[in-house]
Subunit: 302 residues, 2 copies
């Protein structure tokens, strides 16, 4: 990993994610302007862009001349739009009822509830739209697009992200045991992170065994991501997080910290980081970005 | 049209729509059961299935041996799921705040608001999912799937259905003129009806001129559909409609009836029916189902 500067990679690829989102979001002069400006407010308000970064990092496992950069950019934008739609809807009063997101008013606070509902709806639609066009003459690209749409839909639907959210809501105030908690997080957060590396892997035309190793990697960092979220909710302040801290305990939500304590959670996060790194053993320096992202996910402070 | 029994066609194709929806909805034993049972409640509660019927009718313009019946069934299910997701979200308190739909409690009344939100979200995802698989080896089918996804996303997103809904909400209580009203309906309702015939046309591998004629047909019946909705809201009772009647006037919504009166609206609906029928002149008896649907849309009583 000596020759690879993750800082430089992170800076360039984060910029690439912003550029792609700017390219694939409609302009705020498009009709209706109110809705399109709210969609841009929701998506362009910062965020770690961890899913686009995972798409980019996984796509580097393919040979440079075989990877379609435009397709990778569209995949990165699509998955970030899906993630953003889920945040906008989760923040609504009938769900988590949150006023603050990424240090700014949530969409229903900056606009209104009806607009926030439509913003989430239309962002989901837009994600699938940008993966469906242009319908070019190359069957290989066409099939890659279809596989991406299938992966993103499966990961975000009723058996993935939305299903996990439904289970989460049904368990507020209830005692969940650890297996149930892990299953819920695997659906709510993990599925979309696995999807991110799959999208990159599809663009890179990876073999099935290589895709399976990526899945193992993503499962580990997906769970680590949630464990670290729980730790930060319990230990950081709202200003650092850019969102309301301490909500889990206040709402009596089952988390790794409330169920098993801070020490256990910290230990688990580090163990998961090791599992993620091990799963990349058969890849060479092309996987360095993925390795650094595993560190980033576990060692982040917000 | 003498040999064609529309009654028999309608009965068999309505049943085909129900069967397809049953096939492509997840079972209510799938985890999470609560969410999947609510999704089935939303979709399987009746409804005219006008969009699936349009998909089926348009697909009949192709030669029987070339049309992939499974793809047509998936397209019909997908567009009905998109339509249903929009109804579930439109009924929410922050939108139209409706308690009754198709003669039964709306989803947020039968379940709760958070579940209704997730039901709509997950139905949208499911629509795109069933159009994306199976990714078979035939490029022609693959490209048809991509074109269907692109069409459905464009019709239902921020420049189509969701955008029209946003414009509608911004104009409650305001005076809209007729061109603005038509533009709003073209987005909110018309786009998805045009999409329905496009999906059938894509499956039938129609030529571009034939697709253009279908678009003219669908634009006319799309507008007619809305004009008749306005007429029924003003003239029918809630029991007949299966939803709350008289809401437009009560909410001071601009409609064809409130703006131009009942006589004008009735005349317009009939003129649009004529326009729809004219656009089918170059098709033979294969277009009989589409012809009858134009009558059905305008002459319906609910």
């Amino acid at each position: 990993m000596s020759l690879f500067s993750f800082e430089a990679w992170l800076a360039s690829q984060s910029q690439r994610a912003e550029n792609a989102l700017l390219q694939y979001l409609d302009s705020d002069t498009a009709i209706p302007q109110h809705l399109h400006s709210a969609m841009r407010y929701a998506v362009l308000g910062g965020g770690k862009r961890i899913r686009p970064l995972l798409v980019f990092a996984a796509s580097e496992l393919g040979s440079v001349d075989q990877v379609d950069g435009s397709l990778v950019n569209r995949a990165a934008s699509a998955i970030e739009m899906i993630h953003t739609y889920s945040l906008v809807h989760d923040d609504l009063p009938c769900m988590d009822d949150d006023d603050l997101r990424r240090g700014r008013p949530t969409v229903h606070k900056a606009y209104d509830e009806a607009t926030a509902l439509l913003v989430g709806d239309a962002l989901q639609t837009r994600a699938f739209e940008i993966l469906s066009y242009p319908v070019g003459p190359d069957p290989k690209t066409g099939f890659a697009q279809l596989r991406m749409i299938a992966s993103l839909a499966h990961a975000s639907g009723s058996k993935g992200m939305a299903g996990g959210q439904a289970i989460d809501l049904q368990n507020v105030g209830k005692k969940m045991d650890l297996p149930a908690l892990e299953e819920m997080h695997a659906m709510k957060t993990g599925a979309l992170l696995i999807c991110a590396v799959q999208l990159g892997g599809i663009a890179a035309q990876l073999s099935n065994p290589a895709m399976a190793q990526l899945d193992t990697y993503a499962k580990a960092i997906g769970l680590a991501f949630q464990v670290v979220d729980d730790i930060l909710d319990a230990t950081a302040d709202s200003a650092t997080l850019g969102k309301t801290a301490g909500k889990d305990a206040a709402q009596d939500k089952p988390t790794y910290v409330t169920l098993k304590g801070l020490d256990y959670a910290n230990e688990l996060a580090n163990e998961l980081k090791g599992r993620a790194l091990n799963s990349l053993n058969e890849f060479g320096p092309q996987a360095d970005a993925l390795r650094h992202i595993a560190h980033l996910v576990v060692d982040r402070k917000k």
